[in-house]
Symmetry: C2
Subunit: 310 residues, 2 copies
DNA sequence: AGAGGTTACGGGCAGCGTAAGGATC
DNA sequence: GATCCTTACGCTGCCCGTAACCTCT
């Protein structure tokens, strides 16, 4: 009788339409997948895949089996979530994280996860949101904390928090008095998120006027470098104030009011909808809690900084 | 992650409330069961059974798991039934058979099963119906063809056929002309089914009258011996005419009409309702077909015999 | 003492990974 | 020749069975 492992392998081959990709997803080798599928086909006496030169596709029987496999894997996942002791859950979860999150609460998240699921290992991958999104759809990571919901139907999004964006500068950085007009901002180097990200695109849109020269945007893939450059007086930065709470507190940076209405940064926990990603869902829930806690803690600091700046 | 084998072992321990009995049901050893349950408890980090000196009982978590285990095993069974090639199904099915069935169509049943499910092995156990019923509830057999439905809620019954009972005797056996009165029957040795069976009890009931001496019933556990004894003129037998179709055909025996209204023998295919007995259900269905074919073939012979006898 | 479950230990086999093979573009 | 799946083969580790042990009645 087929066991769940075989059905799991089958499920991923069916979904990824490739033995090789399934083997990668399952952290095993391609021949191992081949064997499992061959075994399954023999046990059932049925051909499950049509092997074409380019990729494989399900046969009719295979399609039927897929529905059973999905239901059984889902049932097992539910079962584990319902009655396994959290401490007994183990495994590796590959998490992709936008750098902003690292600066805000990632370490607390890791601690909390370790406390609740001591046998779970986190593989953490810090990258910009567009890359994380690609990694998600390619099943290279199991969970991501990134900018904005991913609008793929196979992805589940849970909003973590909205962080306002703001202009920040050294207190002695030469600027007209608040609120700073767009014309002045365009003349000033603005350091911010990398070229392919949402905030960069939004900013470029807001500051591009047909009648004025293009803005001087300095995209930067490293948030701490953005902060460093701002501290060094190279320009004004556009970042969420929560990231520079300490610098604001100590008066090393100030928030700058302007005529421009910057959009909020919306971070979501995003993970693929699959019958075996219970841990991803559970970790997303933990992230939501941590993000909420963090938000409550930092809110007052930010309000205070705006008062100082004006 | 727990596999289906562990859940299957768990299911049977839970149902039979004993490690040892589960090991017997699963054709394995008791320590193997112990280990599997221990492994399952460790994987989930949860105690599943309370081990008392006399038997084991489910804990709360165990009860929860049982529901999942049942659903998953049922799903697997459905899956196999839905899309496995019959030739790929293999296993041993222990079948208990009432002797009457052996004389009627058992060999054809075995052939048919072998043709449809070449990899299935049948373990055939011939015994009287009350013993078969006990074996069923004790899970010593997976399927039985026996007399009358078994009214246990955990058993599924499928009616195979109704065979009329009749009195049969040697043509030269001294009897009053048909219809033979009860008084004559009581004075005659009557050879029939064993003491604990339905037909014996029914017959005893019908022939016991307060005003007459008790009937002379010769119970016999072997149907062929009953026939032999009847052929030898030891007495009148009460058996289904279909069993002696050949003897009737050849004029070695005749059917005797009487004032007594003998009940029909109702044979059913009976099997325990369990999430893993798909084969039992499939074989019961085959049996139903075979019984119907047999009924059609023999009906005319029987009608003819009554005409000869009268 | 006997029934029932656990622990200890040795052997067999399933399933994995490495490596070579074959088909199709 | 590149890509992708299959076949061959040796090895590891799991799981089973035997046997000894523990506990409760």
């Amino acid at each position: 009788m087929p066991d769940l492992r075989s059905l799991e392998v089958f499920y991923w081959v069916a979904r990824l339409k490739s033995f090789r990709r399934a083997s990668e997803k399952l952290n095993t080798t391609q021949p191992a997948v081949s064997q499992r599928i061959a075994g399954l086909e023999q046990e059932l006496g049925v051909r499950l895949f049509d092997r074409a030169s380019r990729g494989v596709s399900l046969t009719g029987k295979g399609l039927e089996l897929l529905s059973y496999a999905e239901r059984m894997l889902l049932l097992r996942t539910e079962m584990m979530a319902a009655l396994a002791e959290p401490a007994a859950l183990s495994g590796v979860v590959r998490v992709g994280v936008a750098e902003t999150i690292v600066h805000m609460w990632l370490s607390r998240f890791v601690e909390r996860v370790h406390a609740v699921y001591p046998s779970v290992t986190l593989d953490i991958d810090v990258d910009i949101s567009p890359n994380l999104r690609d990694a998600l759809v390619a099943h290279e990571i199991d969970l991501a904390f990134l900018l904005g919901p991913v609008s793929d139907p196979r992805m589940a999004n849970a909003e973590l928090a909205r962080y306002p964006l703001a202009f920040a500068a050294r207190p002695d950085f030469p600027l007209p008095p608040d609120p700073v007009p767009v014309s002045a901002l365009i003349a000033t180097p603005i350091i911010t998120y990398p070229r392919t990200t949402r905030p960069y695109l939004a900013l470029k849109d807001l500051l591009t006027r047909a009648d004025l020269p293009p803005p001087r945007l300095y995209p930067n893939a490293s948030l701490s470098t953005i902060v460093r450059m701002t501290l060094d007086g190279i320009g004004v930065s556009v970042i969420p104030p929560v990231v520079i709470a300490r610098e604001l507190e100590e008066g090393l940076l100030r928030l700058v009011r302007s005529e421009v209405d910057l959009p909020d940064l919306v971070f979501t926990a995003t993970y693929p909808v699959a019958p075996d990603n219970m841990l991803a869902r559970a970790l997303a829930e933990i992230a939501r809690t941590i993000a909420a806690e963090n938000h409550a803690e930092t809110a007052s600091v930010i309000r205070q900084s705006y008062r100082k700046g004006s």
